[in-house]
Amino acid sequence: MREHPGSASAPGVTRRQLIAGLLLLPPALAGCALGQGAQAGPDPLIALADAARSDVALAAAAIASTPATAPRIQPLVDARTAHAQALDAEVARLDPHQPRRPPARATARTATLAEVRAAVLASGQSAAAAVLTLPPDRVGLVASVAACCAAYAQVLG
């Protein structure tokens, strides 16, 4: 079974809390239960890839609305495009029969830098949550996606 144990024995909790404290982890995050349903339902990377495509469309709309923002936002467009491709490839690796997902539709409406920032912040948080439950051979990619998104959320703020 690939999934990590979703619950722990009492000594495990104690040790994890110890580690969490030593690494200055916010207590609310220590041992929080995100594993529910980790083994059922669609591949969680599909939603992360869709979020990447959505961010690309929103960021492109923001550039179209305010071309002066392009130097700040275009690197995000490129990064999220690469994230979508890498996540799609990982989804396909585990399930070659997974239908290919279409790119997000171009957004006709205008979009602001603040909306782009909020979107990539949320995407990073979703990826960070997934990091806690994914199997070892998939978690590195998602951790990188989470860190990249969080960094953009920071610099676009």
């Binding site: 990590h4 722990a8 580690i19 690494l23 200055l24 220590a30 990091v131 951790a143 990188s144 960094a151």
Partner: protein, 155 residues
């Protein structure tokens, strides 16, 4: 509930300890690099370098404490490290900061991959995220594009 490491209920198994030791080695190297770097930087970049040095020292100290509390002897720093390129001026000093940060990112992503323990993963991701921002600052200085790595920690 299956346990991928039967008999290791504490969740911090040898693979995780090894990953933390590798991260500590990278943090030792980063701290060493940041002791060298400020002397070569323009004055306006020195505060950033000092702040980054402090961040690496803090992480290093937490890691050493964590490993000690696990009953493991933390790896020691080497007396000196060989820089990939000579450091002689501001740009080469900033480039060394990029190397130090990039190496640390790889070590921390590896920690995430080498443990199933959520708290360790969360802590490692936090360091990975902060390191991505530090790396972006120095990549900007040396004009590496994009400043923010697309896949931080990926080698």
């Amino acid at each position: 509930m299956s346990d991928p490491q039967p008999g290791r209920a504490i969740g911090i198994d040898k693979a995780a300890v090894d990953a933390l030791q590798d991260a500590l080695a990278a943090e030792h190297a980063a701290v060493w690099c940041y002791t060298l770097i400020p002397a070569f930087l323009p004055a306006d970049q020195v505060p950033a370098a000092r702040a980054d040095a402090d961040a690496h020292r803090a992480v290093r100290g937490q890691l050493e404490q964590t490993l000690s509390d696990l009953g493991v002897q933390p790896v020691s720093a080497q007396p000196a490290y060989q820089t990939p390129k000579p450091v002689a001026d501001g740009p080469s000093a900033a480039a060394l900061a990029v190397v130090a940060e990039t190496d640390a990112l790889a070590a921390w992503r590896s920690v995430v991959e080498r443990t199933g323990d959520r708290s360790v993963r969360q802590a490692a991701l936090d360091v990975l995220t902060k390191g991505t921002l530090r790396c972006a600052v120095w990549r900007t200085v040396v004009n590496d594009q994009p400043a923010i790595l697309v896949f931080p920690g990926s080698v």
